[in-house]
């Protein structure tokens, strides 16, 4: 279960990261802050770096080291034009998926009897296949 949640989050995080980076450029820590300030579940901050690295490899985002007046240099991330296109597609896909989730959830409540009769229809065909 935990693994499923992780996988689901990973995909959504890519979308969230791109959405945040579309507004402005961020370095890792500020990006995590921008995301966690808006949500109420805790994530391991470190997990963002492999995601950022993969996005950078796919040239969806790009990075640049910038000297900081306080402390070590910061690696800033910016979305690329290619990334903006990807974001458009991902955003639409996510909206469709989330619609699908809420629609199918509503469907279950409506007709639990009908589902039972559907199952009955499936079983006979399976038995035919097995040669019984």
């Amino acid at each position: 279960m935990e693994n499923k949640i992780k996988q689901l989050r990973k995909g959504v995080f890519e979308l969230v990261i791109l959405q945040v980076l579309k507004k402005d450029k961020y370095y890792g820590y500020s990006l995590i802050k921008a995301i966690t300030d808006n949500c109420n579940f805790d994530i391991n901050e470190g997990t963002i770096y492999p995601i950022l690295s993969r996005l950078a490899k796919e040239e969806v985002i790009e990075s640049q080291w910038v000297e900081s007046s306080k402390g070590p240099p910061r690696k800033y991330y910016m979305i690329t034009n290619h990334g903006k296109d990807i974001l458009k597609g991902l955003g639409k896909e996510f909206k469709d998926l989330s619609d699908l989730v809420s629609k199918t959830k509503a469907m279950k409540k409506k007709s639990s009897k009908k589902q039972l009769s559907d199952k009955k229809k499936i079983y006979p065909t399976r038995e035919v296949k097995n040669g019984k």
């Binding site: 820590y29 995590i32 391991n44 470190g46 770096y49 492999p50 490899k57 402390g71 070590p72 910061r74």
Partner: protein, 229 residues
């Protein structure tokens, strides 16, 4: 890393970073350095933001939020990165190490030459490998066919090959066409099998070379981009 933390905090951070580093198996050194630098920067920012508690409590809280060193990179590492670690190919490691050492130097147009050279050599190796493998396979099959003809119709075989001793199985000084033919088929079969084996192995051999290729062409792109500016 310098003295940006109190001494005891510095020690905790260094230990943490070294544990993250040892968990980044299969990540190229050059990327490891960059990741560590980035994580170090993150921890510093997070630590400076932390207001409550003493130094040690603060840094422990920061590290807890960041996650266990083992969780940060191993499972979620980008595929292309830990692929190298999966292949226990030691000569390849040495080669990659040498390449990284070369790429690690400041690269100007000289570096461009080096990388183009490496890409060229890679292409050459791949080309030669396939030439040999395909040559063996085709040669083997041709040999089998020639040997069969040799058995069925020795005279036709002679007119077919003429004076070309290379084509005839000339190293056998037996005046028995059937025996010559059978031996010919055997030798040709081994040759063809070797060729097919080489072709089959290529996908394992070139998986490693592909990594180097990607590494080199990525660097090439970077240099070209830099020189344009």
């Amino acid at each position: 890393m310098g003295n940006k933390y109190p001494e005891n905090v510095e020690k905790i951070v260094e230990d943490y970073l070294s544990r993250v580093r040892s968990n980044m198996k299969g990540v190229p050194e050059i990327d490891k350095d960059d990741f560590i630098k980035e994580i170090d920067s993150h921890i510093y920012e997070s630590y400076s933001d932390e207001k409550n508690g003493d130094e040690v409590a603060k840094i422990l809280k920061v590290l807890k939020k960041f996650g266990e060193p083992a969780d940060v990179f191993t499972k979620s590492a980008p595929k292309a990165m830990y692929k190298i670690g999966k292949e226990k190919n030691i000569p390849l490691y040495i080669l990659i190490g040498a390449l990284i050492a070369v790429f690690g130097l400041p690269l100007g147009f000289g570096g461009l030459g080096v990388i183009l050279g490496i890409l060229g050599v890679l292409l050459g190796i791949v080309g030669a490998y396939y030439a040999v493998a395909i040559g063996f396979t085709l040669g083997g099959f041709a040999g089998i066919i020639a040997s069969i003809i040799h058995i069925i119709d020795p005279d036709f075989f002679l007119t077919l090959t003429g004076e070309a001793d290379m084509v005839r199985v000339g190293f056998l000084q037996i005046s028995n066409p059937t025996l010559e033919g059978v031996l010919g088929i055997f030798v040709s079969f081994v040759l063809a099998a070797l060729g097919i084996f080489l072709l089959f192995m290529s996908k394992y051999i070139f998986r490693g070379l592909k990594t180097i290729w990607e590494l080199a062409s990525k660097k090439l792109k970077e240099i070209l981009k830099r020189n344009k500016k």
